[in-house]
């Protein structure tokens, strides 16, 4: 082989090896695989999170629910995001992911927003025009904007790239940026939440998974029917919630109990509450429809609650009693 052909051959070999390395790097991308409904970027959420929730902002804002109940329905996280950064969630954000610990604390909550962000423009906006004063700081090579949240401790917003921003308490944001710069995926080490996420089919408008700590504030027992002896609520080990808002409000809740008997007990209790709801129909006929829309079942140690509420029903429920009398069905003819 002549020298020149050798040079060309070596060059092509370098290209080939580099291409293989690039393809191989794809498999090394730790955030490559989405887990259930959680996109790869969500793996930056903290490992000690006890719940993770996600909202498909585009589907949410396009839903009849948002259009009808916008004022009440806009999540706190979106309001916070707009106030701090100037981002218009309805326009710029595709998804919001939230993780946290119900017990709170300094690093309790952190949110990741996915969308399309003009990071330079937004940075300038935050520094100069934000409703809340922010100071820029460099953390792990990323620019973070720190807000004074008063008694809650400092909050921060940082752009990881032009599609991802992280927001939350300063320690939580720092932790996320540190993970990103090291190529780490902390949430992946939370086996419990990972297992729950894998059970959730992607595509829901909103979803949430959490372990038993999510329900730690729930009472251990409820009063028995008719004022009888209190009924002990079986402990839930985990909870999965998914929901859609188009064409109706649909909700699906799956709770894991320690065993089948506990699941059956819980289902019975829930059915009891649904029955009670139905009995309120005399005061508000819509409650009967509401009760009819809810079904409770069990499967091994899982309790499944599903509900489908048409918007008309929700509107009727939302109306005042007087207005309901005016807008309700006409009284029967004498």
């Amino acid at each position: 082989m002549s020298r020149s052909r050798l040079v060309v051959f070596i060059s092509m070999l370098v290209v080939g090896l580099g291409s293989l390395a690039a393809v191989g790097a794809v498999y090394l991308d730790p955030a490559r695989a989405a887990v259930g409904p959680l996109p790869p970027e969500g793996l930056l959420l903290p490992a000690d999170a006890r719940f993770v929730a996600g909202l498909d902002v585009k589907r949410f804002t396009a839903s009849p629910f948002y259009k009808r109940f916008r004022a009440q329905a806009r999540p706190e996280a979106l309001r916070d995001l707009e106030e701090k950064t100037g981002i218009v969630p309805e326009r710029d954000v595709d998804q919001v992911l939230v993780a946290g610990r119900p017990e709170g604390g300094p690093a309790a909550g952190v949110a990741i927003a996915l969308g399309s962000f003009d990071t330079y423009k937004l940075g300038r906006s935050i520094e100069t025009g934000s409703k809340r004063k922010a100071t820029a700081r460099t953390i792990e090579g990323f620019t973070a904007y720190v807000f004074d949240e008063g008694g809650k401790g400092p909050g921060a917003v940082a752009f990881i790239d032009r599609q991802t921003l992280v927001m939350g308490s300063l320690p939580a944001v720092e932790a996320a940026l540190r993970s990103r710069s090291q190529g780490a995926v902390p949430l992946k080490s939370n086996a419990g939440l990972m297992a729950l996420l894998e059970r959730v089919k992607p595509g829901a408008t909103f979803w949430m998974v959490g372990d038993q700590s999510l329900l730690s504030n729930l009472p251990g027992s409820v009063p028995g029917p008719g004022g009888g002896a209190p009924v002990t609520l079986p402990a839930l080990q985990s909870l999965i919630v998914t929901g859609d808002l188009d064409p109706v409000v649909s909700l699906s809740i799956t709770g894991d109990t320690p065993d089948g008997e506990s699941a059956q007990n819980l289902a019975n209790i829930l059915n009891g509450f649904v029955g009670l709801l139905a009995l309120q129909a005399a005061q508000k006929p819509e409650l009967k429809d509401l009760a009819t829309a809810i079904s409770v079942s069990t499967e091994a140690n899982h309790v499944l609650v599903s509900a489908r509420f048409p918007y008309e029903l929700l509107e009727a429920l939302q109306a005042t009693p007087g207005a309901a009398a005016q807008t309700g069905p006409a009284p029967p003819a004498p």
Binding site: S4, V8, V26, D118, T119, R180
Partner: protein
């Protein structure tokens, strides 16, 4: 003195001396000869420096990150700028200009064209072999630098996010090859038609190709318009977006136009070269 030897027993059958060599073997022979002169030349040393400069940029960027200097652009954005602005719009056309205009001119100036013209070679094969050597040389200089730059910048912050970027690398390699082929074909034509093709080539690159910035139909009459449209790096940042081409032409159409233009320019070059007389005086 002994007669010159003929083919030994068991070797290839005697040559067909009634026809010129077939196109492919002829082009392959010229390719081998031309490659030797092209790869090991001062021109290639200069081009290697220019084409390899982005690797230095990438290493500097990595250095800034290690020093925790905040970067206003991400690694992938910097890679996009390097591909679309440095390579496709500037360095590759210049490389094509300086190599392709000289394919025949170098042989004429060096007075070695006589040796090629007095072999049983079809003239189209001579030009094809030289063009292939030009492509081989420039790709050998460019692609490793492109791949190295990509790997350095895409992994600047770990492997996160590289999954979506890798297909862009392969697309960019194709665009680089297409840029070298299309500009090379055009400048080959200039080189065989004009006595001094470099100035008209520079005028084409830095005057005519600027019409890509004029809205409307004119960008379709430029090579950079089509090539820029194939390079789909469009960062959301307002500050960077101005570096990139505003009017994006259809990709499928771009591929067809560029390939057809390359073929047309080469065909015209072959036609002119086949009919031209080359007089080399002492």
């Amino acid at each position: 003195m002994s007669a010159l030897p003929g083919p030994a027993a068991g070797e290839a059958p005697p040559r067909d001396t009634t026809r010129p060599l077939a196109f492919l073997p002829a082009a392959r022979g010229v390719f081998g000869l031309a490659l030797e002169g092209m790869v090991w030349s001062r021109r290639s040393l200069l081009m290697a420096v220019l084409l390899g400069l982005p690797v230095v940029f990438a290493l500097l960027y990595r250095g800034f990150l290690v020093a925790k200097v905040p970067a206003r652009v991400t690694g992938l954005d910097l890679y996009a700028i390097i591909v679309a602005v440095y390579y496709v719009r500037n360095v590759l056309p210049l490389a094509a200009l300086f190599y392709a205009t000289s394919l025949i001119a170098d042989e004429v100036e060096g007075r070695t064209l006589t040796y090629l013209l007095t072999r049983p070679l079809p003239r189209p094969a001579i030009l094809a072999g030289k063009f292939a050597a030009y492509l081989g040389t420039t790709l050998a200089l460019t692609l490793p630098a492109l791949v190295a730059t990509f790997l350095l910048l895409a992994t600047a912050r770990g492997f996160a996010g590289i999954g979506t970027a890798v297909p862009e690398l392969f697309r960019d390699m194709g665009v680089v090859a297409l840029a070298l082929a299309s500009y090379g074909a055009l400048f080959t034509l200039l080189g065989v038609v004009l006595r001094r093709p470099v100035i008209p080539g520079l005028l084409f690159l830095f005057v005519w190709e600027l019409v890509v910035h004029i809205p409307g139909y004119l960008p379709r009459l430029t090579l950079t318009g089509w090539l820029g449209s194939l390079v789909h790096h469009q960062p959301a940042e307002e500050g960077l977006a101005g570096l990139f081409q505003r009017q994006v032409l259809p990709v499928g159409e771009g591929l067809v136009v560029l390939l057809a233009a390359s073929a047309l320019f080469l065909a015209l070059s072959v036609w002119v070269f086949s009919r031209r007389e080359y007089v080399m005086e002492q």
